[in-house]
Amino acid sequence: MRADYELFTVDTQAFIYGEQLRAAQRMLDFDYLCRRAKPSVVALVTPERGGFEKLFWGTKEIRIPRITNLTEAAARFPEADVLVNFASQRSAYDVTVEALEIPTIRTIAVIAEGIPERQSRRMAALAKANGKWIIGPATVGGVKAGCFKIGNAAGTMDNIREAKLFRPGSVGFVSVSGGLSNEAYNIVARATDGLNEGIAIGGDAFPGSTLLEHLLRFEQNPAIKLLVSLGEVGGTKEYEIAEAVKAGKITRPLVMWVSGTCAKVLPGQVQFGHAGARADSAAETADAKNAALREAGVIVPKSFDDYGLRIKETYDRLVEAGPIVPAADVTPPSIPLDYAQARAEGLVRRPTNFVSTICDERGDVHTYCGVPINRVIEERYGIGGVIGLLWFKKDIPPYAREFIDIVLQIIADHGPAVSGAHNTIVAARAGKDLISSLVSGILTIGPRFGGAVNGAAEHFLHGLRSGLAPRQFVDEMRKRNVRIQGIGHRLHSLENPDARVELMKAFARKHFRGTPLLDYALAVEQVTTQKKGNLILNVDGCIGVLLVDLLVELRFSDEEIDEMIRAGLFNAFFVLGRSVGLIGHYFDQVRLEQDLYRHPLDDILYDVPQAPEKVG
């Protein structure tokens, strides 16, 4: 059974609202350190995504469900009574109001900063009307030593260990500032037997719960013997604390300091880091509030500098007089270091599984083989230059970039009748999407369709390297019964040359230092055209041999060129260039709203036997 003054116990279960995996992990690590039986986080409420998340429980991984809706989460986990609300400034109010209406949720920590005051006041009023607690907004939350912590409160595991937050002490602490709460836990740990509970109510003008409300709650808790608080310039709530002390509602010793005493030397109105930290009247100044607290009997230090000393004195007095029996020290279990942190600290290393040598996206600007993309654009590398960087890993000269551009343009499309385009069209007409239709076309590229580029490079290179005279080469190929790739065209002949081939030849002769493989292929063409006029070096063949000549110019060795042929580099130009055309065909079919294609029956020879041959 949980007493009314306890917001959190060692059994407290909570929801986290928002994509806050690190905060969730920190809560679980804290649980583990406290030797809790069960994790405190029962579910993550993440509207964008359901399923589950894997988090660590000590060294083991556990699954924490993701639920897209808070009300549903509460229905599934009725025993969870805390919501750590990480929703943004814009939606934190709506999430909090939803939570306030759910009977099983009792305490809501609102982390967001910059929530409009009117919304904060409404949340506070609704909470009060429903008998619930809001911590925040604009806070890191709080911690119940040895039991439960809210989100990122109490900082790193190191800090939690240093401040002994894994087991309860005798001090109840409440502050305005969340940023200072770790500092305060540290001070408390050094001056006393440790924190029992610490809450940061947040720096807004109208927090959901006040310093006084938490102090009164601590007052009722028999485990808390010493109260420590840290207020701030702005607002008048500290006077209520002074009144409560005077009225005997707070009987435990209270050490308190109100920060912002420097305001008197600052010009005009300086807005400090917190929205509520601004004195609108003399009563709201830190000096006035410190004086009122001191007058009421609160232990107020001279400055923050001896805050720790006053806490220590008071604690020692309580130990001496009897009410405090210092909490025994316990040894918490160790928690393995997170890999990322261990790596950052240089404590671990691990072999990688992947290597990339062509690009890097980790810096400010992505690089292609070390060249920043902005330079690629500024220096007009073009597609040819980018292919140089990503395929060849070389910074190739402008004429080479231009040649690659020409190749891609020439290859882009050769009409709707060829295998690739046909397949793309049929797939598009079957209602398939862009990728399916494109891939359906690309999948036809191989030894018979488009493969001639690669094949021609391979064949002519073989001839040239073997030192075979063109006629010997043709004979040898015939003997081996191999059709020379890249030779032959349906229409064109020596007399009626293919303009595309002529264009490439002219470009290469003008810009390349030499074109040995082209020259060899043309010599072969002289032989083959004697047999039949249309057995000329065709577009695919011309591209294949000129790409080899280009690679030689770019100082690739024979072995490297062979490796590229094996890897299908020449096909790659075909795939890349032809994709432009295939995509065009897909869009064309979609725009034309072409129906499902069905091949005409009279175009098929049906030669089916009467009955299958019986075997076996």
Partner: protein, 369 residues
Amino acid sequence: MKPDQLFGKRGKNKLLLLDADLQAAVAWIGERMGKEVTIEGAGGKTTGVLTHFLIEPFAPHDAEYYLAFTSSRDADTIHFSPQGGVDIESVWNTVVSIEVPVLTDPAKVEVLAKLPNVPHKETVAAFVQALYGIYVDYHFTYLEFNPIAFSHGRLLPLDTVAKLDDTAAFQCADKWGPIEFPRPFGRPMTPEEAYVESLDAKTGASLKLTLLNPDGRVWLLVAGGGASVIYADTVVDLGLGRGLANYGEYSGDPSTELTYEYTKTLLDLMTRKPDPHGRPKYLLIGGGIANFTDVAKTFTGIIQALEEHKDKLRKNHVKIYVRRGGPNYKEGLENMRRLGERIGVPLEVYGPETHMTRIVSLALEEAQR
């Protein structure tokens, strides 16, 4: 005629001219424009330069009321008095206050029955009722008309003070229209303060700088909204308020570049000229134990700026004290220690084992020796 620069009590401060013709108005404003004045208000004395004046036509009217809306934690309050146009505090017993608890529907607030008997009472009540709806809907946190007059059958505000909640901008962008939040009346911003403000506006992190005394010997470079106030407090509480050069803070995990720019701005100010008596200056690089800010990372920008200013720091006899805790603080502090050795500037480094403001007393003890 009156200045319009976010301060009140202009009558009391003799900054109000009534019933004047154009010539008198021009002369009156001409005498005051660009002049420095000291205003006495609720928050003490404030000195600043007059730059903006309002000229309003004289409106004949038969009654002057006081009307204000205020907000506190539990309720909004509508204040109404039949005696407007005077220092309202002096006639506070005439003010009727209608308290509206926070969760009340604005349309259901009972105004008419609670107003005192004044001329045109029904019109006034309907006006107040409607205005309260706007007060709520537009996220005002304060709205005061003193006076609001009855003129030609309608209510006419003659002087208005309004405060809007700037955090509601995301909800009210359309209602408010293009609105600029003016700076409070007081000393104009120095270029360095304006620069830091422009850095602050660029990021989700927070960077603040207020220059208090450029000749001061104690300079603060403190992380965190809460801690920065306490460092400034402690300098004041330990009796060196006049030597405090600045208030400022950086928080919310600013990037290395932003902390570098921020530190550079501060160091430029600090090292413009050595102390005339040749005494040392003190730079306190302070902060509490961070919850999740990577200390080593934020120190990188600070270290870079310190390194660049090493000659100026030495020339100005700067002594540096560092205190910080939080994620990766050991590495951050070690980097600082090594920096001190490298640049030959006296630099002491403390971690969470040392009380947060101890470096303030260390520096001040030295300064007062």
